[in-house]
């Protein structure tokens, strides 16, 4: 991989964000709305629920972490969709850039987009609701890594679909995360799910991430094995995502969609 190419492609998305204040506002708006919404719900549960009464902000912390996953995945999809919407696809694929460099550039730039949106929301939650995700301590870094890898993987899988099936796959891009959310056990323990769904849920990294988040906040202990498991599962899905992306790319070359994909 050549860093100057990755930087070149990242620059395209950085310029896009930098050139448009409404775009930056849009990135900040939704995570902040989420914090307000879940902040008030969280406060209500803290007062009225025996399960949460000793742990201010479990729900809000979960909401913030879930939004991090959501934003990283959507950022990845959005950057790819931007190429389709701007009819820049052909230019991109005739440039001497490897698929691995495209994936790397999108992965690196997605974190930039995600943080623009999330940092203000995280900071707002501290004075407004007295909730700080930093209370998770050092494990927060590893939980975020697991979430980010999985978010990127979902983005990769959706962009692979866009490559293969064209812009009509766009709706799946928006729906992908909502499909997994119930199984992720973001706001409730895994025991709530029926037995069969528990088995499926355990195959996803989300359950392990959010279970561990609750474990740290409620029991004040850290289960390192659970964190490692979540990262390893995320990496496995990421490898699968990369394979699917390559398969879709070669499929698109066969189908001839790389030359005229557009709105």
């Amino acid at each position: 991989m050549r860093w100057h190419k990755i930087y070149g492609l990242s620059l395209r998305h950085i310029y896009l964000i930098r050139n448009s204040f409404p775009r930056i506002l849009d990135l900040i708006y939704w995570p902040s709305v989420q914090v307000f919404l879940w902040g008030f719900i969280s406060e209500f549960f803290t007062v009225n629920s025996s399960y949460y009464n000793n742990t201010v902000g479990v729900i809000l912390t979960a909401a913030i972490l879930y939004d991090f996953l959501f934003r990283s995945s959507i950022s990845y999809n959005m950057m790819f969709l931007e190429e389709i919407w701007s009819r820049n696809f052909t230019n991109l694929f005739i440039a001497p850039i490897k698929i691995s460099e495209i994936i790397a550039a999108l992965t690196m730039t997605a974190i930039f987009r995600t943080l623009i949106g999330l940092v203000p929301a995280v900071l707002v939650a501290i004075p407004l609701f007295g909730v700080s995700i930093f209370k998770l301590g050092i494990p927060l870094i590893f939980l975020l890594i697991a979430l980010y890898i999985f978010g990127i993987t979902l983005g990769l899988l959706v962009t692979a679909g866009l490559l293969r099936f064209g812009p009509s796959f766009e709706n799946i891009a928006w729906a992908s995360l909502f499909f997994l959310a119930p199984l992720g056990c973001i706001y409730y323990p895994i025991e709530i799910l029926p037995n069969l769904l528990q088995i499926v849920a355990k195959a996803l990294p989300l359950v392990h991430i959010f279970e561990e988040m609750r474990n740290i906040l409620i029991n004040q202990t850290v289960n390192v094995a659970q964190i490692i498991k979540s990262i390893l599962i995320s990496i496995s899905y990421f490898v699968l995502g990369v394979v699917v992306f390559y398969v879709s790319y070669y499929g698109a070359k066969k189908k001839g969609t790389l030359i005229n994909i557009g709105e």
Partner: protein
């Protein structure tokens, strides 16, 4: 660099888009790829750029298969401009050229942008968003992007489509001058026969995925007993109807 197209065929499901075409484009020459809409020109260019996988046959660029492992090395020496593909609209002209300069590994991107902006009169709108430009300006920016890496092979798909005669002439003159200065190989797909007569050394006529005729413009005009390339094109394009 030269291009050899050998037994190139592309089938999309049951539709034969390109049917066993063969031709050679010699180094520093300009070849016109002509034919009615849907005759397989874009698909052929797509295969030459490595964007479409051929069903059979191959494209050799300087004797290296375009689908080979060093695909990216070949791409760094080629470029493509077409009014049907665009650059990101929300980026300024300068930003777009910088991004592509970096993707093509251009050594001193800023100098190259200055140079090409001067040549193609882009300076007045270099800091304007690409989406806000007129079609003539967009066209010149697209040409600038295609020359950012000083390619050895340039693919041009209707480079003067939708341009007014003045700007169209400016672009043709620029391509002519650039080619004579830089000794590059050009493949030009166009529906403007005057443009083809002016720029191309040889011409290939395609119809229904096949090459139906080839030669210099003069040879084709004489062979078909017409007065100019436009009439020759019409004769070939309508030949099936005439026979029917």
């Amino acid at each position: 660099m030269d291009i050899k197209v050998q037994n190139l065929t592309k089938k999309f499901n049951n539709y034969l888009a390109v049917d066993n075409i063969n031709f050679t484009l010699e180094k520093n020459k300009t070849l016109g790829l002509l034919g009615p809409n849907g005759c397989g020109k874009t698909t052929s260019i797509g295969m030459m750029l490595g964007l479409i996988t051929p069903t059979s046959g191959k494209v050799l660029i300087d004797n290296q298969n375009v689908d080979s492992a060093n695909h990216n090395d070949l791409l760094s020496k080629m470029n493509f401009a077409s009014p049907y593909i665009e650059l990101p609209k929300k980026l300024t002209v300068k930003q777009n050229l910088e991004v592509y300069g970096r993707l093509y590994g251009v050594k001193n991107v800023k100098n190259r942008i200055n140079e090409i902006s001067q040549d193609l009169n882009l300076n007045n709108f270099l800091n304007k968003n690409t989406g806000e430009l007129s079609s003539g300006q967009k066209n010149r920016v697209s040409l600038a992007k295609s020359l950012i890496n000083k390619p050895d092979i340039l693919f041009l798909d209707e480079p003067t489509a939708s341009l007014d005669p003045d700007i169209g002439d400016f672009v043709r003159e620029y391509i002519e001058t650039y080619k004579s200065k830089n000794k590059i190989t050009i493949l030009l797909a166009s529906h403007n026969m005057k443009e083809v007569e002016r720029l191309c050394d040889t011409v290939i006529m395609m119809k229904e995925g096949q090459i139906v005729d080839r030669g210099t413009c003069k040879e084709l005009v004489n062979k078909h007993g017409r007065n100019n390339l436009e009439d020759t094109f019409l004769k070939i394009a309508r030949s099936k109807n005439e026979m029917a």
